[in-house]
């Protein structure tokens, strides 16, 4: 009996061995943007996995077995927070059975805690108004300043979990910050002529981008996520767009763009089908290229509208 127990324990140890053997910090992020930050900071000292693909809607993720396996071996889970992933992450965490990454533990980090949140519903949360996020807009990563803040906070958390590499993490993070600062100046200069341009968008994904570069968002196409907009709402929006001479529609690439196309053609506005995350379109494999792509496409459309 005793021998059998020892043999069984040996088997268990052997099965667990691969996950214990690697010393490098295992980071799992929900979105590719956070994944890019973590990779940039960690270099070859961390192993980073991302759950949601860049071209995918981060509000909805269909659970797969591998997500749970990945999470079960993670040392650190970095999410956006503000209820963006509320529909799928809690059950994945539960399924992963990894106490280290439970909310409240050092291995669980919501990147949105590092930034100042916009679009917080006023006067309490009236949930009857649809899928609004009660704690404010979670799509913070398209503002480069927020990207810096988030990357800094992620570096701090990674450093505390892996003190041996803390110096390297902070150095990489500072390099990234310097790169972003340079790019931010370039983006701000290029966007300056278009300050206060009125635009509309499909979902509130680009609000932080608009906020950073001074674009004036006058409304959304969708009434409620997943529900076709009511005709009355669209008619009213088209009227407003004509009145205020809105010539650009920001449209998330993962939503069906039939409605945006229809509104665009009625209101005489260009529909920009835009990536919302790193890897969301060809040539957006870094965060800098992602923002480049948004800036380039917007400027091209805005110039055309001015003619």
């Amino acid at each position: 009996m005793k021998r059998l127990c020892i043999a069984l324990l040996a088997c268990v140890a052997w099965l667990l061995a691969p996950s214990l053997a690697s010393a490098e910090l295992r980071v799992v992020t929900t979105t590719t943007d956070l994944g890019y930050f973590a990779r940039t900071i960690g270099g070859d000292k961390v192993h980073v996995d991302t759950i949601c693909q860049g071209s995918q809607d981060p509000h909805f993720v269909q659970a797969r077995p591998s997500y749970m396996v990945t999470l079960s071996r993670a040392d650190l889970l970095v999410s956006i927070g503000l209820e963006l992933e509320v529909g799928w992450l809690p059950s994945l965490i539960q399924g992963a059975r990894n106490p280290a990454i439970n909310p409240g533990k050092p291995g669980y980090f919501e990147a949105s805690s590092a930034i100042s949140v916009i679009d917080i519903p006023k006067g309490g949360t009236d949930r009857s108004r649809g899928d609004i996020h009660p704690f404010g807009n979670p799509h913070f990563w398209l503002d480069p300043i927020n990207a810096k803040l988030a990357a800094h906070a992620i570096a701090d958390r990674m450093a505390s979990l892996d003190p041996a590499n803390a110096k390297l993490f902070h150095k990489n993070q500072q390099d990234f910050e310097a790169r972003l600062d340079k790019k931010l100046k370039e983006w701000t200069d290029r966007m300056a002529p278009f300050r206060n341009t009125k635009i509309v968008s499909y979902h509130a994904t680009f609000n932080y981008f608009h906020h950073r570069f001074g674009l004036d968002s006058i409304g959304y196409l969708e009434d409620r996520p997943g529900i076709p907009p009511s005709p009355a709402h669209l008619v009213d929006l088209i009227r407003q767009m004509k009145e205020k001479n809105v010539r650009v529609i920001f449209h998330e690439s993962f939503y069906d763009h039939a409605t945006s196309d229809m509104v665009g053609s009625r209101a005489g506005a260009k529909v920009l089908i835009l990536p919302t995350s790193v890897g969301g379109a060809n040539g957006t494999d870094t965060y800098e290229k992602l923002i480049d792509s948004l800036v380039n496409q917007f400027i091209a459309a805005a110039k055309q509208a001015k003619k």
């Binding site: 659970a63 797969r64 077995p65 529909g87």
Partner: protein
Amino acid sequence: MTDALVFLGPALAICLVIASIHVYLGMHVLAREVIFVDLSLAQLAALGATVAALLTAEEEPGWQAHAMALLFTIVGAAIFAFTRRARKHVSQEAIVGIVYAVASAVTVLVVSRSPHGAEHIKDILVGSLLNTTWTNVWQTAAAYVVLGAVQLVLAKRFIAISWRPDEAEEASRYVELWDFGFYVLFGLVITISVQFAGILLVFSYLIVPALITRLFLNQLLPRMFAGWGVAIVASGLGIWASWVWDFPTGAAIVAAFGAVLLLAAIIRAMVPRSA
């Protein structure tokens, strides 16, 4: 392999629990030719839960959601039971279809006024097998033991109504009431399983084993055992595929059911019927 068991163990277990009772009920559904009745009742239950979410503005479905789901299911059961005598003029399948379409449309209308609606609709369709916990498994098993016992006690009468409807109508004046009871029990089973497995998978557990076994067997009891075999094979195959190729689990099992059915049909076509 141990990993697979840790992460997919509850999913496999809940599939087997669901198969236990659905394989039997599927035979009834097939005999009655009301193939989409589960979709219809599940959609009504979902509508009930959505209405409750709108009225209570609660984020997590509480007892109100379950009560409303049950209430709507009972309404559906009443519709199906009390329109049965009209089946000579209008196919029951038509009524089942209309209830499904209207319930789905009204769900969309209700969702457009309620928070977190879109997620709700998606969950109903594909379920969330991977998120099943062992607590879910035990609770469902307990509920199905009770519901299965009731089915067993009433089996004779329900079988008579499902397989020999005309005789049953002549023999008893209360066929509608018994039928109502059948649909309520059926609705209870479905509303539980849909939460985990989703509509597509529940439909597969009901219909595919019943259909495959009818290709080869006539007697109900042998068909049930063969049906359980089919369900176990398809569940195992689907979950294995989901693990190996990293597919969403529910959809993988539905596809596995399709593959097993195809295989059975080929065998049927090649092997001449002996009886």
